[in-house]
């Protein structure tokens, strides 16, 4: 494997960049599905951090960071399913996925 010549900081920087891209997407897009895509990117950036610290940590054989990432993937899958279900439900109700047009709590 090639990991020997890459510092841990490289992975952390890529994760930070991906997190910021996801945050920018979640904050600036108008389509609710695109906001969910941004949130998925942020979750994945966190997973990359977990795996990188697991690999560079003193005890990779304990599997702690790896398990954390696997559970995080499972929770993110549940989050995506419920989030997209909510988007579909809101679309059926308001006939739009434009977040700027959804400015009322009461349907």
């Amino acid at each position: 494997m090639t990991i020997g010549s890459t510092p841990l900081g490289g992975f952390l920087l890529v994760a930070a960049l991906l997190f910021s891209i996801g945050l920018a997407g979640a904050l600036t897009r108008r389509n609710a599905i695109l906001v969910l895509i941004g949130i998925e990117l942020m979750l994945n950036a966190a997973n990359l951090n977990l795996i990188a610290f697991w690999r560079y940590g003193p005890h990779p054989e304990l599997l702690t960071g790896m398990m954390f990432a696997i559970f995080s993937i499972a929770v993110a899958a549940a989050e995506a399913a419920v989030g997209l279900g909510l988007v579909i439900s809101i679309y059926r109700h308001a006939h739009t996925t434009d977040l700027d047009a959804m400015n009322r709590m009461k349907g």
Partner: protein, 212 residues
């Protein structure tokens, strides 16, 4: 603590052997040497390639106008992340990433786009009214995170800082850990996935059908 010989290239081997042997990791000489070594040893080609794929996919997923194109670009970002996981010797997490994200989440996003007519580009732009504030916040977050990583870079494991013996994590070991040490989180995740499945179906169900 001592770097393996093969990662060292041509850095005055005799001086270094002495200094690494006698000085602690936090010693300024050791830190400076590490910085020097980082300069001489660029990141590996595979890492650069995978990182470029991931960041390019993420950028395209956020910036493209057509929503379906965004979903496809998201798939590219997920694939790049899976490659990064494999580069980090986390085979199981990498293949779980491919199965769960590329296989399920991306398809789910495409379905949601098609069910909501989200693929039509709105006439007045795809970005929100207050997009500039969002961009400033995201740039600020990246500045803080990047500063934190770079400022603490001397304390992080440098090139070759990972345990050199590749941790051979087999799927059997992961399974044994899941049913011994991590059995309670496993059960909770099982419950969560069941609840999320039922909840998503109920939330997305047609209201008229629910009344029936």
């Amino acid at each position: 603590m001592c770097y393996p010989r093969s990662h060292r290239r041509d850095l005055r081997p005799t001086d270094e052997d002495l200094s690494v042997g006698t000085l602690g990791r936090g010693h300024p000489a050791f830190v400076g040497m590490q910085a020097l070594e980082r300069e001489r040893l660029p990141m590996s080609f595979a890492f650069t390639l995978f990182a470029a794929i991931t960041v390019a996919g993420g950028l395209a997923a956020v910036l493209l106008k057509n929503t379906v194109h965004c979903a496809l670009a998201l798939t590219v970002a997920f694939a790049g992340l899976a490659l990064l996981f494999l580069d980090l010797d986390a085979q199981f997490a990498g293949f779980a990433q491919i199965l769960v994200y590329i296989g399920a989440v991306a398809i789910l996003v495409v379905f949601a786009i098609l069910l909501t007519r989200g693929s039509e580009t709105p006439k007045d732009g795809v970005f929100s009214k207050n997009w500039f504030a969002g961009l400033v916040i995201a740039a600020g977050v990246f500045a803080v995170l990047g500063w934190a990583v770079l400022a603490s870079a001397y304390a992080l494991p440098g090139p070759g800082g990972a345990p050199t013996a590749t941790p051979t994590v087999t799927v059997a070991e992961i399974g044994q850990a899941l049913i011994s040490r991590y059995v309670l989180p496993l059960e909770i995740v099982a419950l969560l996935l069941t609840a999320a499945l039922i909840g998503a179906v109920i939330v997305a169900m047609d209201e008229k059908e629910r009344a029936r």
